[in-house]
Amino acid sequence: MNRELTCIVCPMGCRLTVELNGKEVVSVSGNTCKRGEDYARSECTNPVRVITTTVRTKSGKILPVKTDKPVPKELMTECMRLINNLCPDCDGEIAMGKIICENILNTGANIIAAGK
């Protein structure tokens, strides 16, 4: 069985064809770099995404945040619910890169500040 994917690793958006034997990836074609193959393998076995969103700090400032690595796609909604309840105290400093929440939902990913 073949599965068609659009690679989301970079703006090129390569059309990937993944040859599958059940759930096992046999081959990947259509990619122009190694990252495309990695993406296809991950997408067919354990699809993951980086979440980017915002939190409201103690003083009411809106701070952009992101997961510092991709999290399983099916956990995105649950992650968003947790993130929206965060209220970090990082006013009056440059927050960029600061960990706001460690190891969210045991994914191994931290929520970090992705803005000032």
């Binding site: 989301i8 703006p11 969103t53 915002t54 952009p64 995105m76």
Partner: protein
């Protein structure tokens, strides 16, 4: 009147990168004027990731990308005025700036870099029939509300236009709990990147209706619904295809227009296709010493290319100020065949440097050869498996392949 060597108008990625590059190329008296309260431009509200893959070799959010540019800029003694709006530029490079801190001030510049970015096309430019209720926003306005001010414009959303901002906002609104019922695109293809169709729509099962547009808006105080119709190849609505979609919010992502009011006040004429100034390979406009870069020149897909163009303009402006600009000029017009919609630069004045010629196509073409022809002689070509309007391309014109007396460089698309 204050005198400044280089005035840069706009503190987004184009302006910031132009400032650093100008400084490194020898211009030391530089002033960046920014209308907003902080540097960064529109990147500040683009909290999604995907920025900087070319430039920084990592995937950054918009604010992270802006922060990197700003950190670089702050290493140098470059003046920055925020909360300051430029109201006029004259032909002889007098910049009029206004702020609550300094009032109205005139600055005589030796060189100016235009880096004002672009604006979204508003509803008024679309002629959508129907009422005028609340709840209709440009996608970028909604983005600012959600990402910078922290409030949601609505809960049930329809998006008209499938440009990248529309797609990004479809995901953003969904993550924040809204239901996006449809993204409608009048063209038979999306104007956004393929990756954004995948990760912003397909990930959340948001339907994309190609060759569809909004043909009616319902509601008196607040928008209550839209009528969406399929269009034929002449983009006329087809009777009988109407869908009535209830919503409380309509987002418009229907194109960006370079913001060139100031360029016009300086007497510069605009390219009818890019709606930006016409420039040479140094990004110098028709007025010597006035340069343009980034989205004010032509709308880019990637901030990386905006930065790169800022650097070209910055270095060129520094050379101009220091009297190091190449004066042995030629005048080669760059033309396109229609399938190639436009090129930047539009003019080449130096044949002794490699030139990265950016272009955008007018439709989706498979298996093509992009050919650069100088007065009938092919000097560069590149094979492309697929070119689409949403993705800017470039072809390199090697130095010394053009002759000083070349009249025209034509960029066209052939079957491969």
């Amino acid at each position: 009147m204050r005198n400044v060597d280089l005035v840069i108008i706009g503190g987004g990625p184009a302006g910031m990168c132009a400032a650093v590059s100008a400084y490194n190329a020898g211009a030391k008296d530089i002033l960046v004027i920014e209308r907003d309260s902080d540097l960064g431009g529109i990147l500040r509200q683009c909290i999604h990731n995907g920025f900087g893959l070319h430039r920084f070799k990592e995937e950054l959010t918009g604010p992270e990308y802006a922060y990197k540019c700003e950190t670089e800029l702050k290493k140098f003694p470059i003046d920055v005025w925020c909360n300051t709006i430029v109201t006029d530029i004259s032909k002889d490079k007098i910049v009029t700036a206004m702020s609550s801190e300094r009032g109205v001030e005139k600055i005589q510049a030796k060189a100016i870099i235009l880096a004002m970015g672009c604006r979204e096309r508003p509803r008024g430019a679309l002629n959508i029939p129907g009422t005028r209720p609340a709840g209709i926003f440009s996608a970028g306005t909604a983005q600012k509300y959600v990402n910078m001010m922290g409030y949601m414009p609505g809960k049930n959303v329809v998006i008209l236009g499938s440009g990248d901002i529309g797609l990004i906002m479809a995901r953003r609104m969904t993550l924040e709990g809204a239901k996006v019922h449809a993204v409608c695109e009048v063209m038979p293809y999306s104007g956004g990147l393929a990756r954004n169709i995948e990760q912003c729509l397909n990930d959340f099962d948001i339907p994309l209706y190609l060759s569809h547009t909004v043909t009616d808006i319902h509601g008196s105080d607040r928008i209550e619904a839209v009528t969406v119709s399929q269009v034929d190849e002449k983009m006329q609505p087809i009777k009988g295809t109407e869908m009535y979609i209830e919503c409380d919010t309509l987002l418009l992502s229907v194109g960006l227009i370079p913001e060139n009011e100031l360029s016009k006040s300086a007497g510069l004429t605009l390219d009818s296709i890019t709606r930006g100034c016409r420039v040479d390979q140094n990004r110098q406009t028709e007025i010597e010493g006035v340069f343009a870069c980034g989205n004010v020149l032509h709308v880019h897909d990637l901030a990386d290319f905006v930065s790169e163009e800022g650097e070209v303009a910055g270095e060129s402006a520094a050379k101009y100020i220091l009297g190091k600009a190449n004066t042995e000029k030629c005048n080669i017009n760059v033309s396109t065949d229609g399938k190639v919609r436009y090129s930047v630069p539009q003019k080449i004045t130096d044949t002794t440097v490699d030139i990265k010629l950016y272009y955008r196509v007018s439709g989706v073409f498979d298996n093509v050869m992009v050919v650069a022809e100088a007065d009938g002689e092919i000097i560069a070509k590149q094979k492309k498996a697929k070119v689409v309007p949403g993705e800017m391309q470039y072809i390199v014109i090697k130095k010394d392949t053009l002759k000083k007396d070349t009249k025209e460089l034509k960029i066209r698309i052939d079957k491969a």
